[in-house]
Symmetry: C2
Subunit: 232 residues, 2 copies
DNA sequence: AAGGTTACTTGATATTTATCAAGCGGTTTA
DNA sequence: TAAACCGCTTGATAAATATCAAGTAACCTT
């Protein structure tokens, strides 16, 4: 890792509380790498050599089963992936590709496990990161099992709207086919779902979405904190 | 906790490697409780006071959204739940009820966090437990998104068949309606899916299932290690 | 700016899954 | 023993979702 990037990286929540020495050792062994769009960073079923922290850009995590493919998550700054695989010293469960040009911190699994064993504060921060990923995934499972496609889309829009500042507008971070896969539907079905939401103030212009009837959208979405509040 | 139960509890993988003092402190504060069937142990959205280890019996974890309900997991000995909620000192994401009479070790969240901070070996074991739960959930999500109802059932049967000794027979651990909810379908649909699998050597007698054509069932199920191998 | 590729949309249709309603068989309860 | 209940199954139907096939619009690329 280059010297000039160190200050930025040190402010990561993952390193908050960790000893100077721990951070030093971790960063010494790490790579701060820039990748172009559509590059596959890791492939499922491979040994988990690195733990990844997304600093800039956007990463898609996905799984394959035969000819089918499903997007499991979209990771945006500052967040991480592959925590479980690295801690277990096992294999990746998901593949990862850049959605757009991205800057990523790659920490060797061996270093992570050493820091985990040697620094209680880092262990806590890392485990909390893992716990967050777990809860996000559990919510995604509930979302998938308890809701229809339109409800999932409506909730996604409401959440993204919040994340992007609740201005009445939002921009999809990915192509619609990726969003469709994330939401567990085909892209045709996503198109039609957007069509159905048009009657409730959802105006789609390419990737830009305008929401003119939040309340109406909420009656469709029926959001519940347990699934939809990111803080939970 | 009663003295006579201590030896049993000390052999738990969760405590392997932890110092004598850590285990002592944890157990001192814990309760080893026996519950009858169909008792709700925790309710989603409540403060996560306890971390649970299932020693005997069977626990169902489930989520509600309005009138709908979905079984997220069936926890059997020796395994745990609520690790993430307790570590974060947050709220439970799922409700839990006993499927049958069960014996459960309840460890106060405060004690868990103290042990995590003070004992690196315990921290590692606890985080690995969390990582396992995370990966199981991610596999469940992929299972749900990438497969049809019949495929999910076929894979469930194959896996349960393995777990129960691969004798050609297996017994469902829960009522069929619970299984249906776990597999993300209605109980009517489960009935029909069993019906469809009859042509592939699946004979159903109440909760007892006989599999006479494993190979045929596998061509239906198309299992892949990344989703179906519990060791992954 | 032209051409080609790709993403997206739309329509028609098929498949999957859920819902509603009834009935069956076993167990519990009065 | 009869009645009530519960889990499960089965049938008929409806809703949700996927698939297949064009067509359109957006975007590269040259």
């Amino acid at each position: 890792m280059r010297q000039e990037d160190a200050p930025l990286v040190r402010t990561l929540p993952l390193f908050a509380g960790a000893s100077e020495m721990t951070v030093e050792k971790l960063l010494q062994a790490s790579f701060l790498q820039r990748f172009p769009a559509q590059v596959e960073l890791i492939s499922e079923d491979q040994p988990a050599d690195f733990f990844y922290v997304v600093l800039e850009g956007c990463i898609e995590l996905f799984a394959n089963a035969g000819p089918k493919q499903s997007t499991a998550a979209i990771v945006r700054p500052v967040s991480s992936f592959a925590a479980a695989a690295v801690l277990r010293d096992g294999n990746y469960l998901l593949s990862a590709r850049t959605v757009e040009q991205s800057r990523v911190l790659m920490i060797p699994g061996e270093s992570v496990r050493a820091a985990f064993a040697g620094d209680a504060a880092f262990a806590k921060a890392f485990a909390l990161e893992l716990a967050s990923a777990y809860r996000r995934t559990m919510k995604a499972l509930n979302n998938q099992k308890l809701r229809t496609a339109i409800e999932r889309l409506a909730n996604y829009l409401l959440q993204e709207h919040q994340t992007q500042g609740a201005t009445g507008n939002l921009t999809l971070p990915t192509e619609k086919q990726t969003l469709a896969s994330l939401l567990g539907m085909t892209s045709e079905n996503l198109s039609r779902s957007f069509g159905a939401l048009a009657a409730h103030g959802v105006k789609v212009t390419g990737r830009d979405i305008q929401l003119s009837d939040i309340a109406g959208l909420e009656t469709i979405a029926k959001p519940i904190p347990l699934i939809d509040d990111p803080a939970y």
